[in-house]
Subunit: 106 residues, 2 copies
DNA sequence: ATAACATTTGGCTATTTTACCAAATATACA
DNA sequence: TGTATATTTGGTAAAATAGCCAAATGTTAT
């Protein structure tokens, strides 16, 4: 694997890593239905405001969401909506995995 | 977010996390063209054999690949091939991100 | 100006992840 | 049986991540 390839895979992995956290993935999926302000997330997540803010910063730095401030609130939305197209496949993996485990228990 | 939702997002995030490493993502992409044995990966990755083996174990535990031993070698293949369908979208994120950064530098 | 609200930032600790080395295991072959 | 080859496992140190608290920032309303 040469340097160029390495850089490319590091960049791709960074995007995936940003989504690879339960809270961040949930937030990204919420945004499929349209923008949300930080306070709306905070209402539904049991975590410190600062934690939520940092998770959103990770998604922003990865280029997955963008934000804008309107009044006192900051609104977030998906920047590249296709980002969640593959969720059905992730679900297939989980189902397949569940079957494998069930089979092993027989 | 209730307990059930939490469990679901933890499971989904676990699959993403398995792919969210440059080496593992690269290996998964190699498998799109068909199975590979560990030694073939080792030829192309500059890392210890044990490191490569552990990365493959992460992919296996996540249900992304499966393996079988034939003779002295262990072959790995994608268990759920759709898993890489979204790479074009990841690339869009990276491009969009590159544009944003370029714009900020102007 | 001051107070109240929404969000981000800095600092800290606990946990997780990564990668290496050495040793163990499994298989084929002399 | 002993040896070489392929891969995994155990242990460990360094680096990255997550989440909390307290403090800082920016905005609106009084």
């Amino acid at each position: 694997m040469n340097e160029e390839t390495k850089r490319i895979y590091e960049a791709k992995a960074k995007v995936l890593k940003a989504l690879a956290h339960p809270t961040r993935l949930w937030m990204a999926e919420q945004l499929v239905d349209g923008e949300r302000c930080v306070c709306e997330f905070a209402d539904q997540i049991d975590a410190d405001f600062s934690t939520i803010s940092k998770h959103l910063a990770v998604l922003r730095q990865a280029g997955i969401v963008e934000d804008d401030k309107r009044g006192k609130q900051v609104y977030y939305r998906l920047k590249v909506p296709c980002i969640l197209n593959f969720m059905s496949c992730i679900e297939s993996v989980i189902e397949s995995q569940a079957k494998t485990h069930a089979a092993l228990l027989q």
